[in-house]
């Protein structure tokens, strides 16, 4: 690995498009794998249902809650894994507790969305019927809390009208849903809900100069196989060019699309700390 270079082609709030150069294929792929599966985020892991008179079954709702992306800015440092934490169940260092208490009093259909989820502050003293929101930490002195970003643990786009909330279920008059969620830190190797990305596109050698693959074609390879956007970045092979069997892939085209739990920048930057 001589000289890794990253050229960012496009950054948006939920995606980044960049070209990685100067690395070998194994490195590039491990970057992809880490981005997909090794960046820790927060996601709802335990749901205690107090009332559920909706049409959906408890486990259905719990599953849906788990899939909601929660803001996990600097989750890596801002939170402990529950398994590493010394507390008994879920303390403020290793969990974020959310509650949802919605009931429909009027006629018509009402949507329960991720916007109804409220983070329970660890100072609020909020108590559920089953007990306090957080368990007592075994020891003090963690710096985790200060490292958390704004709105940590809140559903993505909670107080943002431009982002449509995630629908959990619909209820009618007389129905209601009351529950406590414990969100924990985790990685997507364990469960897909902890993945910060929804998709990672990865490409190299758009002209197939290295002949890693052989395109199947009916009559004319060039006519039948559309070139990808990334092909513009590279010199198209000339017909008279000899095949360089020693060549190695050099440029890797990435596009990382996030779920919103982490910013694309953070996703990429965290790779270095988590790829160990």
């Amino acid at each position: 690995m001589s000289n890794p270079r990253v050229r960012i082609r496009n950054v948006q709030h939920d995606r980044v498009n960049f070209v990685l150069e100067g690395v070998d294929i194994g490195f590039a792929n491990s970057l992809r794998r880490v981005v997909m599966a090794d960046i820790p985020t927060v996601a709802i892991d335990i749901v205690e249902i107090e009332t559920n008179t909706t049409v959906l079954a408890d486990e259905f709702i719990a599953h849906r809650l788990g899939m909601i992306p929660l803001i996990s800015t600097n989750c890596d440092e801002g939170m402990r894994y529950t398994r590493d934490c010394t507390c008994l169940s879920n303390c403020k260092y290793c969990s974020v507790v959310l509650y949802l208490d919605v009931s429909c009093q009027e006629g018509g259909t009402m949507d329960i969305t991720s916007d109804h989820l409220q983070v329970v502050g660890y100072n609020s003293g909020y108590r559920f019927t089953s007990g306090p929101a957080y368990s007592d930490p075994a020891s003090d002195g963690g710096e985790e809390l200060s490292k958390r970003g704004d709105g940590f643990g809140n559903p993505v786009g909670k107080d943002d009208d431009s982002v449509p909330p995630v629908l959990i279920t619909k209820i009618r008059k007389g129905q209601g849903l009351k529950l406590k969620c414990v969100a924990r830190k985790g990685i997507a190797k364990e469960h897909a809900k902890w993945s910060p990305c929804s998709a990672v596109s990865f490409e190299y050698d758009p002209h197939n100069k290295l002949r890693h693959t052989s395109y199947w074609f009916e009559s004319d390879e060039r006519a039948e196989w559309p070139l990808s956007e990334n092909a513009k970045e590279e010199e198209p092979p000339r017909d008279d060019m000899p095949f360089d069997f020693n060549a190695k892939p050099e440029k890797f085209y990435f596009e990382v699309e996030t779920t919103g739990a982490l910013s694309p920048k953070e996703v990429i930057m965290k790779v270095t700390t988590n790829s160990g």
Binding site: M36, N52, A57, H63, A188, V200, F202, Y215, P226, E257
Partner: protein
């Protein structure tokens, strides 16, 4: 191409605001129409009295006398005494209502959902008015309650008959509920369509078995199934005898009788020999074959010495008097007339019509014998019709009422015979006493019929089977549910038949019976499904004017004597000879009728079947046969000459040229064109996308698997009480679907998920039809489902329940359960579980208090799976005045897909999930797409399911462009290929034209050497799950007799290690394994065996304490435990002189290694033997056979 939209908004609207006037998918009501209409036909409508009323009229009167009928007196009349005749006057069936007893209810109507949820039956009261008359005095009548009969849902007697969607939803039904079934004990059951011979058409038969009917019988016969106006039927068969005569066969009370045909011909209209001769010959005097037979026929009858019709009737009456059971005072002639009326050609009331048809039958029979015509195929739909549920239901009610009436008569005549003093026909109290003794509870019998499908009948109802008439309408998924209503069974009788000819797919069934939708295996070809557009007529058409119409167009009158049979063919309307016509005229009549019926001229009904059979050499018997009756299959096609819609039946279809598509029309030949080339497929077969690309067996498999897939079975799942119900959590509408998917509203009941499928051999975990599931896709909910199971707690059947009416068990929790007991967490004071409670095997699910012991009893949950309480239903009784004794608990068992669960695409490509592969390791495309499912390319070459490959392309293009892809079969052609259509779409989306993509290994990131076929395919999760199937055992229950492991998954049994498996181990030389399987892990046991005599069953024990001390027994001191052989010791004591000779019958040798312990002292050894061997020794000993083991 139809608009490519998913109609999401429309559907959502329809769900939110169900139609207040009708249904969103009226076609669903159409396909159950035969069920409903045939049931509705039972009840009066306008001028139509209804089949039940016609039936009770046909039952007639039952007559009984209070005299004994003396033979010695000369005058018969006087000796019989008073004549009491009884009959059923009228009949009525009410809608399902709350019993009168309950005064408190406001809404008296009972709705189907109540019956379903309360596990009761949905039934209405059947009442009859019974009349009787003594001699000629005034008629008296009384109303009689006949119990409650199950009512077909959405029929005329149903409380949600024409209810629109909005109200149906309020009534806890599906918004598209179409009915057609009965609810018995909470189960939805329906009467299946059954194939029966076509009514009113003479079919020629050649059956070798006819020869066995008696001497001179031959294999030739003609048969006709005649149907009365109340839809009950009688089959008459005319047998050809080798002596030239013919015998008419019919059955009466399951007993078969044969009568010479001449006897009937004469009896009918007093026909002279000449009349009969001319009637059969029809001027065809050159036909010496026929001439000879007719001569023999006439001559053979001379022996009976009966000349006039009256003589014949009297003869018949005399012979049949005993079996018919008609009034004793009837004359023989009356009986003879009655016999002919009720059993011979019952569809024709007029004797002359019967006579004419009999002549026709004889002519057809002789033509068959001479080889002029061929035999008709009774397995062909051409000669078949459908026994409709409602008609069968009516027949049974009629028979049950007739039985009850006969019972009354029997009771009275018994009283008369026993000279009971109270017998007084004029005393109303006596009559009502007799009536109360007889069970008129038809309702219970009908419920039993529906619940079991068994027909308890004295007459057999002219059917070939006595069971299997009804089936449960399983709501496993929507596809299975709707198929029940379209299924047609050939008859249970044919299932046992060794020949497979009945199962054959015949070209005649095109358009009526689906060639694709039949199960494979035992019921293959017997259980069929109606084609999509096939209808079944349910009413008899108005055709009284047709004969006159045909006369006016050149048909000649029925005076057969003046007609020449050589150049005239018979014209029949519903089995009645209405005239004759020369073949060209007959053909013209047929064309005219078809033109009229399609154009609606001359009131010719569209459903009239016009079967013109042209004259041929050795073909079907020619003639013009018109059918207007109910129960025929009909289907719509377009009539080419005038371009109007025509309705055709299977009889006429054989002689038509129907083009499949407008392109195929041959102007010189074609008469019709199909309205739609896919009309010949059933609904399910139509739903297979691109089925025309697949190898045909794959489509058959898909029809089966579609019915096994998990899906949304019901939108009213909360109000269902099915024993087991499968539910898919996240069903999707398929991206690729035929147009009919929308037509039938399948989107309300999805049965699968659109999955990104890569066809690649990736890890080896996809060998042999296994498929790899993306772990992340699984975690996001791919294929997640649940099972709903019913758990019913009925305190009446619980242990300790009292037999009496007062309940002694009550739901509730007594004070004997401590305040802090754990079950108080999950069970409420009322003894019922809280909704949402998790129950594990052995957990308490409800509690009740026993009055006798004053203790709380815990009702346990016995099943091997963790479940959640979904609903708790408290079930009351019909009147709602009893204490709670029965609860219905719906348990929800979550079933996330696990390794070993079965999935399938819609092309008969099933596979088992073999791994949940981590997403990072899955291959991915340049755009970052990762497959949800990986299947092996080897799944394709041998199965040739090209449809699946096309679906994959179409799905990918559809997903990219947001299109609902039309996958109707037969829309593409060689010129306009599907590949091109979807390939262009793919190219427009930036993909390769052929659906391939370069992909990268998830593990190394390297590009694969080959590009991969990846696309979107709709995947179904099948209901076969490992959790229901896995079977493991280390130790467990054993059979008490053999001490070998028991079998059966439910009992934690083992899997049999059989002879062939044993052979394999022997062949491998794995002796230790063999020993382990068959001995150590099975019924290993140790036994004492005598060293001297080798017996295993003669063990005795000395009481060591006493014997050693006293030393009374000198010889044969037992072993260390005091064991000894009783036989040997006894022998030794008995005759010390002579050494014991071995008297064993069987001698076996036990090698020394099996001797476990050989105590130095004593005479017994311990050996290891299978326990069954010890058992065998004991059994043999009981037979007096001794087994001796030679212990080395």
């Amino acid at each position: 191409m139809p608009p490519s939209t998913f109609k999401t908004v429309e559907r959502e609207k329809a769900f939110k605001h169900p139609s207040k006037t009708g249904h969103s998918y009226p076609i669903l009501n159409e396909f159950v129409a035969p069920h409903l209409e045939s049931f509705n036909a039972l009840f009066p409508e306008g001028n139509d009295p209804g089949l039940l009323a016609l039936g009770i009229k046909d039952i007639g009167k039952r007559v009984v006398f209070d005299g004994k009928g003396s033979t010695e007196s000369g005058s018969r009349q006087a000796s019989w005494g008073n004549r009491l005749s009884m009959w059923i006057d009228s009949i009525s069936v009410s809608r399902p209502l709350v019993p009168e007893k309950d005064k408190a209810v406001k809404e008296r109507k009972v709705f189907p959902s109540e019956a379903r949820e309360r596990l009761s039956s949905y039934r209405g009261k059947l009442q009859i008015s019974l009349s009787w008359q003594v001699n000629d005095s005034t008629v008296r009548s009384t109303n009689k309650d006949c119990g409650s009969i199950p009512i077909m849902v959405r029929s005329k007697r149903c409380n949600i008959k024409e209810t629109p969607s909005a109200e149906l939803v309020q009534r806890h039904e599906e918004p598209e509920e179409f009915g057609g079934y009965f609810i018995v004990n909470g189960n939805e059951r329906l009467i299946r369509y059954l194939i029966v011979p076509r009514r009113h058409h003479v079919i020629a038969l050649i059956r070798p078995s006819f020869v066995n009917r008696g001497p001179a019988y031959t294999r030739f016969g003609v048969s006709i199934r005649c149907v009365r106006i109340d839809q009950t039927s009688v089959t008459n068969t005319l047998h050809y005898l080798s002596n030239g005569s013919a015998m008419m066969r019919f059955s009466w009370r399951k007993q078969e009788y044969v009568i010479p045909i001449m006897l009937i011909l004469k009896a009918l209209i007093s026909a002279s020999d000449k009349e009969i001769f001319e009637g059969i010959m029809m001027h065809d005097y050159e036909n010496t074959f026929m001439m000879d037979r007719v001569e023999l026929l006439l001559r053979s009858f001379k022996t009976y010495n009966l000349q006039t019709g009256t003589q014949c009737l009297e003869y018949l009456g005399d012979k049949f008097r005993v079996v018919l059971g008609q009034p004793e005072d009837w004359s023989n002639q009356m009986l003879g007339t009655w016999l002919i009326d009720t059993l011979i050609l019952v569809h024709l009331p007029n004797p002359r019509d019967k006579f004419q048809l009999l002549l026709f039958m004889i002519r057809k029979l002789f033509a068959l014998v001479s080889g002029d015509t061929c035999a008709d195929n009774p397995d062909s739909p051409q000669h078949q019709e459908i026994l409709l549920p409602g008609f069968l239901y009516g027949m049974i009610i009629k028979e049950k009422l007739a039985e009850a009436l006969t019972q009354v008569r029997m009771n009275i005549s018994m009283d008369v015979a026993r000279e009971v003093s109270t017998v007084d026909f004029f005393d109303e109290r006596y009559i009502s006493k007799v009536l109360s003794k007889v069970s008129f509870d038809v309702g219970a019998k009908m419920s039993n019929f529906l619940a079991t499908g068994n027909l308890v009948s004295q007459t057999g109802l002219d059917l070939q089977q006595a069971s299997g008439f009804t089936i449960v309408a399983e709501k496993l998924n929507w596809q299975r549910y709707i198929s029940h209503f379209r299924s047609v069974h050939r008859g249970a009788f044919f299932a046992e038949l060794k020949t497979t000819t009945v199962r054959k797919l015949l070209p005649e069934s095109w358009g009526f019976i689906c060639p694709v939708h039949t199960p494979d295996g035992t019921p293959c070809g017997l259980l069929n499904h109606l084609s999509r557009s096939c209808r079944i007529t349910t009413t008899t058409l108005a055709v009284d004017h047709i004969p006159a119409l045909l006369f006016s167009r050149g048909m000649t009158q029925t005076h057969a004597a003046v007609l020449d049979g050589r150049n005239n063919v018979c014209v029949q309307l519903d089995g009645r000879v209405i005239g004759w016509a020369s073949p060209p005229i007959a053909k013209r009549l047929a064309t005219d009728l078809r033109a009229w019926k399609t154009q609606g001229l001359h009131k010719v009904p569209l459903d009239l079947e016009i079967g013109y059979v042209p004259a041929s050499k050795g073909g079907q018997y020619p003639g013009l046969y018109l059918f207007s009756s109910a129960a025929r299959m009909m289907r719509p096609v377009k009539y080419l000459p005038n371009g109007r819609p025509d309705s055709i039946g299977p009889f006429e279809q054989v002689y038509m040229e129907i083009a499949c598509t407008p392109d195929e029309i041959n102007p010189d030949v074609s008469t019709h064109v199909e309205e739609n080339p896919t009309n010949f497929l059933s609904i399910l077969a139509n739903l297979t996308p691109f089925s025309d690309f697949n190898q045909s067996p794959r489509n058959i498999y898909q029809c089966q698997m579609g019915k096994q897939s998990m899906g949304v079975a019901s939108t009213a799942i909360r109000h269902r009480t099915d024993n087991k119900m499968y539910d898919l959590q996240t069903g999707q509408t398929p991206v690729v679907r035929p147009v009919l998917h929308n037509t039938y509203g399948m989107d309300s009941f999805p049965t699968g998920t659109n999955a990104v499928v890569a066809v690649i051999s990736y890890t080896g975990y996809d060998m042999e039809d296994a498929m790899i599931l993306n772990k992340s896709a699984h975690e996001r909910g791919f294929g997640y489902g649940s099972i709903y199971k019913s758990h019913i707690i009925d305190l009446k059947t619980e242990r300790g329940a009292s037999r009496g009416s007062a309940a002694n068990l009550h739901f509730g929790m007594g004070r004997d359960i401590r305040r802090d007991d754990d079950i108080r967490e999950v069970i409420h004071e009322d003894g019922l579980p809280l909704v949402g409670t998790r129950v594990a095997p052995g957990d308490c699910i409800a509690t009740y208090i026993d009055d006798t012991t004053h203790r709380t009893v815990r009702h346990k949950y016995h099943s091997d799976e963790v479940a959640y309480v979904d609903t708790v239903r408290l079930l009351g009784n019909d009147t709602g005045d009893s204490e709670l004794q029965k609860v219905h608990i719906t348990l929800r068992i979550p079933r996330a897909p696990v390794i070993g669960d079965k999935f399938s695409s819609r092309h008969g490509q099933k596979g088992v999930c073999s791994q949940k592969w981590p997403a990072v390791d899955m291959p991915f495309s340049e755009s970052g797409m990762q497959p949800d499912v990986i299947i092996n390319p080897h799944a394709f070459p041998s199965r040739m399911t090209i449809g699946m490959l096309v679906e994959s392309m179409a799905g990918k293009a559809g997903a990219m462009h947001g299109l609902a892809q039309d996958a109707t079969p037969f829309t593409f052609s060689e010129e306009d290929t599907a590949i091109d259509y979807f390939g262009k779409q793919l190219r427009a989306a930036g993909y390769n034209y052929y659906g391939n993509e370069p992909m990268y290994s998830g593990i190394t990131g390297e590009e694969f050497a080959a590009d991969i076929y990846i696309g979107v395919v709709y995947y179904q999760r099948l209901r076969h799950m490992v959790l229901d199937k896995f079977q493991v055992r280390t130790t467990g229950p054993v059979d008490p007799v053999t001490r070998q492991p028991v079998k059966g998954r439910k009992r934690a049994g083992g899997i049999r290690f059989g002879e062939m498996e044993r052979d394999a181990l022997i062949a491998h030389g794995t002796a230790f394994l063999l020993q382990d399987r068959l001995m150590n892990c099975s019924d290993y046991s140790t036994a004492w065996v005598c060293k001297t005599c080798g017996s295993m069953i003669t063990l005795g024990y000395d009481d060591l304490m006493t014997t050693t001390r006293s030393g009374s027994l000198s010889q044969g001191v037992g072993g260390p435990g005091g064991e000894y052989c009783r036989v040997c010791r006894a022998k030794a004591e008995e005759a010390k002189a002579s050494p014991a000779t071995d008297g064993s019958d069987i001698r076996l040798q036990v090698p020394s290694e099996y001797v476990l312990r050989s105590p130095k002292a004593g005479e017994m050894d311990i050996i290891a033997v299978p326990y069954v061997f010890r058992y065998l020794c004991a059994e043999l000993a009981s037979m007096g056979i001794a087994i001796s083991l030679e212990v080395a």
